[in-house]
């Protein structure tokens, strides 16, 4: 399988009056054609900022990208790309769906105008053909009476419908990579299940790669092939879903799993992770999970944990050799 996007050692910090917020601090992951990679982590762990930073969608300043690379298939590094190159890629080869369905559509423009935009501005279709394509896209995501929906404004749709519109909009250009930032978090459970099914179906049809961000491990289990576990702007663990869920290597992943209700195994008592994430302006040299970790030792405060890699590329950053179960 060809990699669609390879992010390596990405470092992106916010320079604020409060200090330097180390929101993304050396993140690496790869996503291949046709696969779904889940990104999990507690709120504030840098899942969103990480994706927005290499897509260059955050204002710089306050953000500063201090290092790393983000290579697309074909070798273009997004971190070195010109504004024109970035524009021709965004919404075309790489599309993004955002966390906030209620506010991510422009309230002053009809759904049709917004839906046709990517096709038109990337020079893929004329206005008329774009409208036909847009109708088809809306039908595909399960919006009844699509041609009437094109003439309506976002406020006339419910949250679930708006997220469908967002998905339709992201998919009109047949992207190689879809970045879905918690597309279902704001929606109720039945709608959530429908949207996940929709994404799975669309992936089968088009072979696109999906980077799926969530803090819901249940969703990851149902949709992803591989997982990246993030904490305090860093990757803690990375591997296939089975590896990460059943051969967990990192205490943070273990704690996350223990705090999530599961149907397939008997977990005993559910426990939330004690303590709270560290202040990203005051990270020390050691492991950011130190202090909340059940297995902490002296080295954890002083030295950043080494990368432990299995032959299958299951990776974890931890001083511990073999996590007690």
């Amino acid at each position: 399988m060809k990699p669609v996007l390879e992010v390596k050692d990405l470092v992106a910090h916010f320079y604020t009056r409060r200090g330097v917020v180390r929101a993304v601090d050396g993140v690496s992951f790869t996503i291949h054609e046709g696969e779904t990679v889940g990104v999990v982590g507690e709120s504030g762990s840098g899942k969103t900022v990480c994706q927005l930073s290499y897509l260059r969608l955050l204002p710089e300043p306050p953000l500063r990208i201090l290092g790393g690379s983000a290579l697309l298939e074909g070798g273009l590094d997004l971190l070195k790309a010109s504004p024109n190159q970035l524009r021709s890629i965004r919404g075309n080869r790489v599309s993004m769906i955002f966390q906030e369905p209620m506010t991510s559509l422009n309230p002053y423009l009809t759904v049709g105008t917004q839906l046709c935009e990517p096709l038109q501005i990337h020079g893929l279709l004329s206005r008329k053909d774009a409208a036909i394509q847009a109708t088809a896209a809306l039908e595909r995501v399960g919006i009844a009476d699509a041609s009437a929906a094109l003439k309506r404004y976002p406020h006339e749709f419910s949250g679930g419908m708006r997220q469908r519109v967002m998905i339709a909009m992201a998919l009109t250009t047949k992207p190689k990579l879809l970045i879905a930032d918690e597309p279902t978090t704001a929606l109720d459970v039945t709608v959530q299940a429908q949207i996940l099914q929709l994404l799975r179906d669309l992936q089968k049809e088009t072979g696109m790669a999906i980077l799926f961000i969530t803090h819901d491990l249940g969703v990851i289990a149902s949709i992803a092939h591989r997982v990246v576990v993030m904490y305090a702007g860093r990757v803690m663990e990375r591997g296939t879903v089975d590896e990460v869920f059943y051969q967990t290597q990192h205490p943070y992943t273990q704690a996350l799993l223990r705090s999530t209700p599961r149907l397939d195994v008997d977990q005993g008592k559910l426990s939330s992770i004690p303590g709270s994430p560290p202040d990203l302006t005051r990270l020390g040299d050691g492991c950011p999970f130190y202090g909340r970790c059940a297995y902490q030792r002296d080295a954890c405060v002083r030295v950043y944990p080494p990368l432990r890699l299995t032959p299958t590329q299951h990776a974890a950053y931890c001083h511990l050799e073999g996590l007690p179960r």
């Binding site: 927005l52 897509l55 969608l57 970035l86 524009r87 021709s88 890629i89 965004r90 919404g91 075309n92 599309s95 993004m96 955002f98 906030e100 506010t103 991510s104 559509l105 422009n106 309230p107 002053y108 423009l109 009809t110 935009e117 990517p118 501005i121 990337h122 404004y153 406020h155 967002m166 909009m169």
Partner: protein, 306 residues
């Protein structure tokens, strides 16, 4: 926004207008003094005749009834102070002048305000922001009777580029309309800057960027409509302010507009002129706000007038 709503808005105007007529009529009548008090040379005999001629001796309610009857026909009555002139004539002479001054001032205000505010919003916290915004503080703080003479001093007297007063040549329009429009330009520039910056921080602008749109398209297609709504809703009060505030400017530059009648007639108890100008101002302001509301609804699809 349905036609029904528009008709309803217009229909509401009738009772409101009647209320205004009634209030102004009785307020000015209950004010002490009368139209002919100031004229020392007038003998009691002539005064009686004058009062007779203008029906000022009739019971007040009868006078009010007669005024309403004339008003329905569009007749605002004779002026008491300007002999042989009707209020309709006075308005016909001076309204075009005031309207021209007001509209020119508004154009200045929009032109300067939108450009300065737009620039400032694109490069916040740079010279492009600080310079126009400092000027706008000045514009908001300095009253017309300071700005006017200041402009006259600089452009009329020192530089001798523009005439200092009058209302004949086209270049006569520049200084008065700038004087009148400056404060509004200042305020509009702040509204524009704030509105555009507010819009640009919205999630949907990030969506637009993620779609690969150019900055120009993001500004024109995605930001202007929402970003300029504050300016649009300010246009109603701005027009009202410009129309009624023209008085000072008209005095500074000696312009034969409506403003001077408004003040003089109140002082002179020139009842019909007071009534005429007050009703005219009311109508202008009402109509302006009416159009602003329509514009607002056209720009923002979420606004529904019922």
């Amino acid at each position: 926004m349905g036609l029904g709503y528009l008709l309803k808005r217009l229909a509401i105007m009738v009772p409101v207008f009647f209320l205004v007529v009634t209030m102004v009529f009785f307020m000015i009548r209950f004010a002490p003094g009368g139209p002919f008090d100031g004229e020392k040379a007038v003998s009691p005999e002539i005064l009686r005749n004058l009062n007779e001629k203008y029906h000022l001796n009739d019971p007040l309610l009868v006078q009010f009834g007669n005024y309403l009857k004339d008003l329905v026909r569009g007749d605002l009555g004779p002026s008491f102070k300007y002999a042989n002139r009707t209020v309709n004539e006075l308005i016909a002479d001076s309204l075009p002048v005031s309207l021209e001054l007001g509209v020119t001032a508004l154009i200045w205000a929009l032109l300067i305000g939108l450009v300065a505010g737009g620039l400032a919003s694109m490069k916040p916290n740079t010279v492009w922001d600080y310079v126009p915004m400092s000027f706008s503080i000045l514009g908001i703080c300095l009253p017309t009777f300071v700005i006017g003479p200041l402009l006259v001093l600089v452009f009329g007297i020192w530089l001798e580029w523009l005439p200092v007063a009058g209302w004949d040549a086209p270049e006569d329009r520049i200084l008065p309309s700038l004087t009148l429009g400056f404060a509004y330009a200042a305020f509009i520039s702040r509204l524009t800057r704030g509105g555009l910056m507010e819009i640009r921080s919205q999630d949907f602008i990030r969506t637009a960027r993620a779609k690969g749109l150019s900055e120009a398209r993001i500004l024109i297609v995605h930001s202007l409509r929402g970003g300029l709504l504050p300016v649009v809703s300010y246009l109603g009060p701005a027009l009202a302010g410009i129309i009624s505030g023209a008085l000072v400017t008209e005095t500074i530059f000696n312009i034969p507009g409506l403003g001077r009648f408004f003040i003089q007639s109140a002082v002179n108890r020139d009842y019909t002129v007071v009534m005429g100008t007050a009703l005219l101002y009311f109508t202008l302001i009402f109509v302006c706000n009416f159009f602003v509301d329509i514009m607002y609804a056209l720009l923002d699809p979420r606004v529904k007038y019922e």
